[in-house]
């Protein structure tokens, strides 16, 4: 076995471990945060501060029977949860956590992450379609239309940034913002005066892409039972859950790299992985905060927001930046 293959395997194992640990403890953080916002304690019985709750949840999920509903498309039904988790793990490979901590620095890193992210909606489509459940089908139709409409403004925003930096390598994108927060992409510059708006658009789109509230129409309990994973129990459901949280971590990492200077310190001192982790967990805390603040939107509101507001504004921003880059 050559050294590069071994490297790749180690990177994937670390990525799986990081994703699983994050998924477990983000669920805990989510429930504790929800509790605090609603002025209740949240899970606090298992272990100090309820820190052993993810273990209890995991034991419960793994010991449950794996049911396949009658009439389901068995192959797709089994593939869907794996497909929810695998792209998320793959995306970790190219994300630079610091100047040196990156599994594989790729010149098309941005492209690769978005290619894998779009596979995520395939898993939702498979899950809803194969489980032979009307709620599942409706939820997957919604989730796919949502994914299509939000990938457009997201990618337009990314094109704007790639245009400014001139690179699709995530490492280069982060390095171009090194040295203090005034170099970050979120701060408007002469060539791109609408950058805070871009940040907001990208933030909203990553909420929608990860199927988070208030855009979690794929699993709207009040109308669709549990949405696309209605028929999933046991670890099948667990994998969907882990995939969702891994996607959240990737979304936060992307926002950090594209807009918030990656691993750079806000004051230009000691750039390191700690700044990166601090930024992504602050973003994730904001995701949780948003989830427990806003009620779920309707499907029309969701699509209107994308096609009538986000896409025109991001297109305008793209053209404006392109023009100004020529001028300056």
């Amino acid at each position: 076995m050559s050294l590069t293959v071994l490297n790749a395997i180690i990177a994937v194992v670390i990525a799986i471990g990081f994703a699983a640990l994050n998924a477990a403890y983000l669920v805990w953080a989510e429930r504790r945060g929800a509790g605090r916002i609603q002025r209740r304690p949240g899970p606090n019985v298992n272990g100090p501060l309820g820190l052993l709750q993810p273990l209890a949840d995991g034991a419960k999920l793994m010991t449950k029977q794996l049911m396949i509903p009658g009439g389901a498309d068995k192959a797709l039904f089994m593939v869907a949860p794996v497909l929810a988790m695998a792209p998320a793990i793959m995306s970790f490979v190219t994300i630079p956590f610091s100047d040196v901590i990156v599994a594989k620095s790729m010149d098309v890193g941005v492209l690769m992450i978005f290619a894998f992210a779009s596979l995520g909606s395939m898993s939702i489509l498979f899950a809803g379609w194969s489980s032979r459940n009307k709620y599942g089908v409706m939820a997957s139709v919604r989730a796919v239309s949502q994914a299509i409409s939000y990938e457009v403004p997201m990618l337009i925003t990314v094109i704007t940034i790639v245009m400014m930096t001139g690179s699709m390598n995530l490492h280069d994108l982060a390095v171009s913002q090194a040295g203090g927060f005034w170099h970050w992409n979120i701060i408007p510059s002469l060539a791109s005066p609408l950058m805070p708006v871009s940040f907001l658009i990208f933030f909203i789109c990553s909420l929608a892409e990860t199927n988070r509230a208030p855009f979690d129409l794929g699993e709207a309990e009040s109308e669709l039972v549990a949405g696309f994973h209605t028929e999933y129990g046991s670890m099948g459901f667990g994998l969907f859950f882990m995939g969702e949280y891994a996607n959240i971590v990737i979304g936060a990492s992307l926002i950090t790299i594209l807009f918030l200077g990656g691993w750079g310190c806000p004051f230009g001192l000691f750039p390191s992985v700690f700044w990166f982790l601090l930024k992504i967990y602050l973003l994730i805390a904001t995701f949780i905060w948003i989830r427990w603040t806003f009620p779920r939107t309707t499907i029309y509101g969701l699509l209107n927001l994308s096609w009538k507001i986000l896409i025109p504004i991001s297109l305008f921003n793209l053209l404006l930046t392109a023009g100004l880059l020529k001028v300056f």
């Binding site: 509790g35 605090r36 916002i37 002025r39 209740r40 304690p41 905060w289 603040t293 806003f294 507001i309």
Partner: protein, 156 residues
């Protein structure tokens, strides 16, 4: 065009207000009472099932007049008494007097509607509402309370 942008700005503003509210709630103290470990103090006017009131000697204040039994619309109170002779010093001479002493006071809580007519009708303040609310059982007999027995247990 103006309406389009003002709608966006008003929307964003309302979102920010909502997030401000949840941010403030986050730091407020938790209001949950972890029930079996912690309990709330019941309010003074809480009406649980009835309980006998004791006098300063620890005996029931009840004189076994039976008003409560008669007032009860559900017929869930049953009491019994016996006459006891006792001696008192009165104007230098010893007299023998009779009084009724309560020997049994049963409450059938399965039919009680907690209307409080018994407490209203008691002229001696001998019964009162308890603050007991942890009442759950799979057996009917557990709700046939012997209030005299409960009084003794309270005093012991």
């Amino acid at each position: 065009m103006g309406a389009y942008f003002s709608e966006i700005f008003r929307g964003l503003q309302s979102l920010a207000i909502g997030m401000g509210i949840t941010f403030r709630e986050f730091f407020k103290p938790v209001v949950t009472v972890s029930y079996p470990m912690e309990t709330l103090k019941m309010s003074a006017r809480y009406r649980g099932h009835i309980e006998l009131v004791e006098d300063e000697k620890g005996q029931p204040k009840c004189v076994a007049c039976g008003m409560c039994q008669r007032a009860c619309p559900s017929g869930c109170i049953s009491l019994a008494s016996e006459s006891v002779e006792y001696e008192v010093e009165e104007k230098g001479e010893t007299k023998t007097k009779k009084k009724k002493v309560l020997t049994k006071y049963n409450l059938n809580f399965t039919t009680c509607s907690l209307c409080g007519q018994c407490v209203e009708n008691c002229s001696f303040g001998a019964i009162d509402f308890s603050k007991e609310y942890n009442l759950a059982s799979s057996r009917k007999e557990d709700f046939h309370f012997d209030l005299l027995q409960r009084l003794k247990e309270r005093n012991s």
